[in-house]
């Protein structure tokens, strides 16, 4: 079966005064219909840029998308579409939820207006039908007394309720793909759980494929079929959710998992942070971008060769030159040097 979304060789860079920032470097992945894919990575790893590039919401310039890049949605390359064709996809076929519900809704329009807008545009509904559908949607996302709230403005809703409104807006035209860019980051923990439950329920009821972008491995754990980890604009590990957590094969993923506190662990398990900072995206190192921070690194090898994603087990791919597992003993490394190298790389060229 052809996947719903297939991203081939996606490269995105930004022109800045400090040089060309290579935000996404040759990213390849796919997403099947009805599937939930988690994209995990720290700030600046290129996960949001990837999603914005799929939606073609990046302003060009300063963004530059490589001409070889392809974003195939149901076989159609979105990057080659005319603006008006792309507009028919946005909001209709692919919808998006953003990080901060406090600022993502227009403060001077009622939420009724903001929800019915897409319905009128894409589904050609009249006012009455659109209003009826908007009420249904608000009920679906769990907003009490939906009829009355249609005329309310965003500031009359709490953060969690606003994110529900955003979700209602996003699913209004039954999109095939829902891109949720850090949908719970701006919310407090109990509300996070509610929003994730809501997304799960909607996925079951509507069969929408979801691309869930987050920096929180805990968020994607119970939600995603597959997970891919991004670092420095590249996918460094991808696997089904369970094997990825049980048996991470890329040192970065291992580092991420080691830095999550667990309530169920016995005794005193120390949290191990990943040393250093992500690399400067203007001057990426010639070798593995994670090498300066990697606990398992072997500089002579790692600094000269970029590790490509390779199959380490069936359906499990990792970008590391070595076969590292959680059990691999961490070799002795002079720790201070690690920090120094990473800082140098970060600060030297940008100026």
């Amino acid at each position: 079966m052809e996947p719903l979304l297939k991203v081939n060789n996606l490269k995105v860079a930004f022109k800045t005064d400090g040089g060309l920032v290579k935000a996404v470097n040759d990213v390849n992945f796919y997403l099947n219909e009805g599937e939930t894919l988690g994209i995990v990575g720290e700030s600046g790893s290129g996960k949001s840029v990837t999603s914005m590039a799929i939606m073609r919401l990046l302003p060009t310039p300063p963004a530059v998308i490589d001409s070889q890049s392809e974003v195939l949605f149901r076989g159609q390359n979105l990057l080659k579409l005319k603006d008006d064709q792309m507009r028919k996809i946005r909001g209709k076929e692919i919808a998006m939820i953003f990080q901060d519900p406090m600022t993502s809704l227009n403060p001077v329009l009622t939420i009724g207006k903001q929800i019915t807008e897409s319905l009128k545009l894409h589904m050609k509904m009249d006012d009455k039908a659109a209003n009826r559908r908007a009420i249904e949607l608000l009920k679906l996302v769990g907003i009490p007394s939906a009829e009355k709230r249609l005329g309310d403005y965003p500031h009359q809703f709490s953060g969690g309720m606003r994110q529900r409104v955003m979700i209602a807006m996003a699913i209004s035209c039954d999109p095939k793909l829902l891109i949720a860019d850090e949908p719970t980051t701006a919310l407090d923990v109990t509300i996070q759980a509610q929003i994730l439950d809501l997304l799960k329920r909607l996925r079951q009821e509507l069969g929408t494929a979801i691309m869930l972008i987050t920096h929180d491995l805990g968020v994607v754990a119970g939600m995603c079929d597959r997970i891919q980890v991004m670092y420095a604009g590249k996918i460094v590990e991808t696997a089904k959710a369970k094997p990825l957590y049980a048996n991470p094969r890329m040192p970065y993923t291992i580092g991420l998992l080691n830095s999550i506190p667990r309530l169920d662990s016995e005794g005193e398990n120390r949290l191990i942070p990943i040393q250093g900072l992500p690399p400067d995206m203007v001057t990426l190192p010639p070798g593995c971008p994670f090498e300066p921070r990697c606990a398992y690194r072997q500089p002579a090898v790692c600094q000269s060769k970029v590790p490509e994603l390779r199959e380490v087990e069936e359906g499990h791919r990792a970008a590391c030159l070595f076969d590292i597992t959680k059990e691999t003993p961490i070799p002795e490394q002079p720790a201070p040097e690690v920090v120094a190298t990473a800082t140098d790389v970060r600060t030297s060229p940008a100026g």
Binding site: L57, T103, S104, E117
Partner: protein, 332 residues
């Protein structure tokens, strides 16, 4: 909302009283005081001056004078001009129409030019259009009004003779707003309006150049700020057309600060433009104010200053109310 407006009006009453007190006291501090108009008259003896001062209550304590003045202002008795012996209210009412005609027309034209230019500049940021507009803006912004006015008179009135050099009507026609003017206006509406329009052109250009520059910059920055908001990205993600996004999602939030700015500058409409009215001898409030100052015509001066203060107060209320109407987040 009604409650808010009523409260806002009630609060402004003590403010108005405070303003009247300040205005009155500042006038007392001016050299010569209210008797300055008679100070230079060599034929007047000290006894005569004392008699005038006594008659007008100017020998009483200042606070008592203020209270008397305040209550007579309140009753609508604003005194008589030292120069023309006409009631001050009459003088002001005579001059208001000319000022309103000039300022209102200028203001409307100014906004009709400035707002679209600002929006255009913001939407096409860093384009050639934006750069050209930016340069023009700086030229306009740094143009001194008195200089521009004189250059316009010199070029388009004196040399090219396209427009009259000043006044509001032609010398042979009845004086503007006089007893004979309106019947004449009714009899020859086309001639009268044409004449008014011709007289308006140069003063309006003089008035709006600086303001168009300032207001279009203001609109530009407000629009730029709005267009980079997250909710505009949301609107784009919905698949809306760029035009719809600007009209439905960006325009209103971008206009919020601009509308307040507009409402706050409106009192100037009634105050007239001192410099422009002087250059073009426009028979408005600005000219009246200048002539009252040079003649030390205290009742007129104080009347105009007080009136303007009151207007500023009123338009502040109007600004607050309009803001509350267009921004649903504001509740009182």
């Amino acid at each position: 909302m009604t409650k808010f407006i009523i409260r806002r009006i009630l609060i402004s009453i003590p403010v108005l009283i405070g303003i009247s007190f300040l205005v009155f006291m500042i006038m007392q501090l001016a050299p010569g005081g209210p008797m300055a108009a008679f100070g230079q008259n060599p034929r007047m003896t000290a006894e005569q001056r004392a008699a005038i001062a006594h008659n007008w209550g100017l020998d009483k304590p200042v606070l008592e004078q203020y209270v008397t003045w305040f209550f007579s202002m309140f009753r609508g008795d604003w005194g008589t001009s030292f120069v023309t012996r006409q009631p001050v209210t009459q003088l002001i009412l005579d001059r208001l129409p000319a000022t309103l005609l000039l300022m209102l027309t200028a203001y409307i034209i100014q906004q009709l030019i400035a707002l679209p230019l600002g929006i255009l500049s913001a939407l096409k940021r860093y384009s050639l259009t934006d750069k050209v507009l930016t340069v023009l803006t700086y030229i306009g912004f740094s143009m001194p009004t008195f200089w521009l006015g004189l250059i316009l008179v010199y070029t388009f009135a004196a040399n090219l003779k396209w427009f009259p050099s000043g006044q509001i009507t032609n010398p042979r026609d009845p004086a503007f707003n006089s007893a004979t003017y309106w019947p004449w206006f009714a009899a020859n509406p086309l001639t009268a309006i044409g004449s008014l329009a011709a007289h308006l052109v140069l003063p309006i250009i003089t008035l709006i150049v600086v303001n168009v520059a300032a207001d279009s910059r203001y609109m530009r920055s407000s629009m730029l700020e709005t267009i980079n908001q997250d909710y505009i990205r949301t609107a784009r993600a919905k698949g809306l057309k760029e035009g719809t996004i600007v009209r439905r999602h960006a325009l209103r939030p971008a206009l919020l600060p601009v509308v307040t700015n507009i409402a706050l500058t409106l009192p100037a409409l009634l105050g007239g433009a001192v410099v422009t009215e002087s250059i073009f001898q426009w028979p408005g409030m600005g000219l009246l104010f200048i002539s009252s100052i040079t003649a030390a015509d205290y009742p007129v001066m104080i009347g105009i200053v007080f009136l303007l203060s009151a207007f500023i107060l009123v338009f502040n209320i109007i600004a607050d109310v309009t803001y509350a109407i267009i921004d649903p987040r504001i509740r009182y």
